[in-house]
């Protein structure tokens, strides 16, 4: 029987997941002379919540951008659902089934919450100019479907009461949740969240983590970038640690917690002794 308790993950018992949904295969990303990602490989398996952590500037967001098609890897490739991303356009990558949120919120500020979600829902609609102009059945069906989906997702994200408010007038926390709703509306196989709890207090963070778990339980795979170690440990099934663009660890939360390389990366022990050692 799957997941009797929510903290099954923190006990370290390995959960069973499906085949890899997304594989980073030896991805290197250079900007001029700067190596932002250096030979990074890892898998995201179907149905898991994968945490991507690392100190500031470790390349988390770059990694994110590489796997949502914002950046093209200099070397290596990203394979999603058996298909290499190659040089697909960004919206095509979204249609393959990867959706994301942004570290600094990027909603359509002058559209209502509902309209924001509808834009996401439109990604799997097909009605174009002719259908819209003549209000053909396809347009009507998709409009109804989109509105239903938007309502569901807004309720899921606890935003049902704000559906007709402009995105810019929502509170910070609501805006973060609205971004998740918009991303979910594209019906992704993989949902990528870039520091979704940034700026939250502990209570809000806890609530968000419950939400993320709920999203996963609905059948989504989640990639989560997060700063707060405790939080990541609580919610993720597996963790990948980056430092200076390199992967330094990959494993269960319990393993990561005791990994000397990770501890060193976060506390800077090695560096300090190194500096002291070489005057």
């Amino acid at each position: 029987m799957p997941e009797l308790s929510t903290d099954a993950t923190s006990t370290g018992a390995p959960r069973e997941f499906g085949p890899p949904l997304l594989s980073m295969e030896a991805v290197t990303l250079r900007f001029g002379g700067v190596v932002a990602l250096n030979d990074v490989s890892f898998d995201i398996r179907e149905g898991e919540i994968l945490g991507l952590i690392g100190p500031n500037g470790a390349g988390k967001t770059t990694c994110f951008n590489a796997l949502t098609g914002v950046y093209q890897p200099t070397e290596g490739r990203v394979v999603f659902d058996g298909k290499p991303l190659g040089n697909r356009k960004r919206y095509q990558i979204n249609r393959l089934g990867i959706a994301r949120t942004f570290q600094n919120i990027r909603l359509f500020q002058n559209m209502t919450a509902r309209e924001n979600v509808l834009v996401g829902a439109d990604s799997h609609h097909r009605a174009g100019v002719v259908n819209s102009l003549f209000r053909l059945p396809l347009h009507r069906r998709e409009t109804a479907d989109g509105n239903r989906l938007a309502e569901e997702l807004l309720d899921l994200m606890d935003l049902g009461h704000r559906s007709e408010d402009l995105a810019r007038n929502l509170s910070y926390g609501e805006q973060r949740r609205l971004e998740i709703a918009r991303a979910l509306a594209t019906k992704p196989k993989l949902l990528c969240l870039d520091e979704p709890a940034a700026g939250f207090n502990p209570v809000e963070k806890q609530r968000l983590m419950d939400l993320i778990r709920r999203v996963r339980d609905l059948g989504n795979t989640v990639l989560l970038i997060e700063h707060d170690m405790r939080l990541v440990m609580g919610v993720t099934d597996r963790i990948v640690v980056l430092e200076f663009g390199k992967k330094i660890a990959d494993g269960l939360p319990s393993e990561i917690r005791n990994d000397p390389a990770v501890i060193a990366a976060y506390l800077g022990v090695d560096d300090e002794t190194d500096e002291e050692g070489t005057p």
């Binding site: 559209m111 309209e115 509808l118 996401g120 439109d122 007038n169």
Partner: protein, 389 residues
């Protein structure tokens, strides 16, 4: 104790709210009445509205064609957020298509000419947009500015287009000649029917501008309906999202380039159509007509009126095209006046005379918030005062 700051003020209804509360049949009747009034405007010659120094029917045609252009440019600028400074190029292409194939190099029937004009200007929009819509903001403005000038210079310097001489004898729309409609004339504020100046229903002649006005107004109404249907659909949402944040839109599955190109093509379609109607009305096209200043006037109509609001840009077209004709004595100062108006607008109504829904809603919400905070603070004050006393 009397109730403090939160007085039971009757809720102020905006025009839009009142309007949306009306039952549907009433709305339809009101729409029809309004449309009929607008159609009849040049026949009624209302004393204050009518232009004393020039033929009111012709002025109304000019206003209507500016309105049509403004609606087209509004799709490009107001919905998709693309700054197009060369919109006059499409207008010129529409006008020249009618002139070239209707008079100079052929005798194509009028209806076909319009279709041809629209097709060619739309195609030119696609051709211009496909490479240039990859650049953003200021760059796009410069590229389109260049396009507008290039179109004019090509017409000016190509013998096949008759160069600087322009083209005359542009065909007029086929007339119907059904019946005569008398006009009202005014002696002070008393009206009398003037049987001397009659307008023949749909006789597209040289002098009477009213049939052309009716034709253009009909086109405007069709475009308006299409505009409403499109903006409230998936297409309109995609434009809005693209304008708001192109990258976020793209990453949420909106093929932004395709939608920008669509907006551009639609703008070119409407621009070409109004150019064709212009050529049919004046009977003459000349490269001198399609100078860059016309682009700026079109843009002014959209910006003054309120980009993104179809009623706003129509109002803007009225301001730009009608006022200089009404106050002919000041017509020479028209550019100065627009400059001043734009400055004042930028200061007091940065979203235009009639801001789009989104700006209005945002403002209302901000006001509400402020009032809430204010009343909260004021309530606190009175309480404190009470304790102190």
């Amino acid at each position: 104790m009397s109730t403090p700051t939160t007085t039971a003020r009757p809720p102020r209804l905006t025009f839009g709210e009142r309007w949306s509360r009306l039952p549907k049949p009433v709305k339809i009747v009101l729409w029809v009445v309004l449309a009929l009034l607008v159609y009849a405007l040049p026949l009624l010659n209302p004393p204050i509205l009518s232009t004393p120094d020039s033929d009111f029917g012709s002025v109304m045609f000019t206003v209507a064609s500016y309105g049509l252009v403004a609606l087209g440019l509004n799709i490009v600028l107001g919905y998709a957020g693309l700054l197009d400074l060369g919109y006059v190029g499409f207008y010129a292409i529409g006008a020249y298509t009618v002139a070239v194939f209707g008079s100079l190099h052929g005798k194509v029937p009028f209806v076909l000419l319009i279709v041809l004009a629209v097709c060619i200007s739309t195609a030119s929009g696609l051709l211009l947009g496909a490479p240039t819509l990859r650049v953003r903001g200021d760059y796009l403005a410069i590229v389109t500015l260049g396009f507008g000038e290039i179109v004019r210079l090509v017409f000016l310097n190509t013998q096949w287009f008759n160069g600087a001489r322009g083209i005359t004898d542009v065909p007029r729309p086929p007339s119907l000649d059904l019946f005569d409609v008398p006009q009202l004339q005014w002696d002070g504020f008393t009206a009398y029917v003037d049987l001397g100046t009659q307008s023949t229903f749909l006789k597209f002649g040289l002098l009477d501008g009213i049939p052309y006005y009716w034709l253009t107004l009909t086109v405007i109404i069709i475009v308006l309906i299409a505009d409403v249907l499109l903006q409230s659909s998936r297409v309109g949402r995609a434009w809005e999202a693209t304008r708001e944040d192109e990258e976020a839109a793209e990453l949420n599955g909106v093929p932004t380039f395709r939608y920008k190109l669509l907006a551009f093509a639609m703008g070119a379609f409407i621009g070409g159509l109004s150019g064709a109607l212009y050529a049919a009305r004046t009977g003459v096209v000349n490269p001198e007509t399609f100078i860059i200043q016309l682009s700026i006037l079109f843009l002014a109509a959209v910006v003054i009126g309120g980009q993104g609001n179809r009623w706003g840009v129509l109002l803007g077209a009225v301001v730009v095209a009608y006022l200089p004709e009404r106050f002919r004595e000041f017509a020479e100062f028209r550019v100065l006046a627009f400059g001043l108006l734009l400055l004042l607008l930028a200061n007091f109504r940065p979203q235009g005379l009639l801001p789009p829904r989104r700006a209005r809603r945002a403002k209302a919400a901000a006001q509400e918030l402020e009032e809430l905070e204010h009343s909260g603070a004021a309530g606190g004050d009175t309480k404190e005062g009470g304790i102190r006393a």
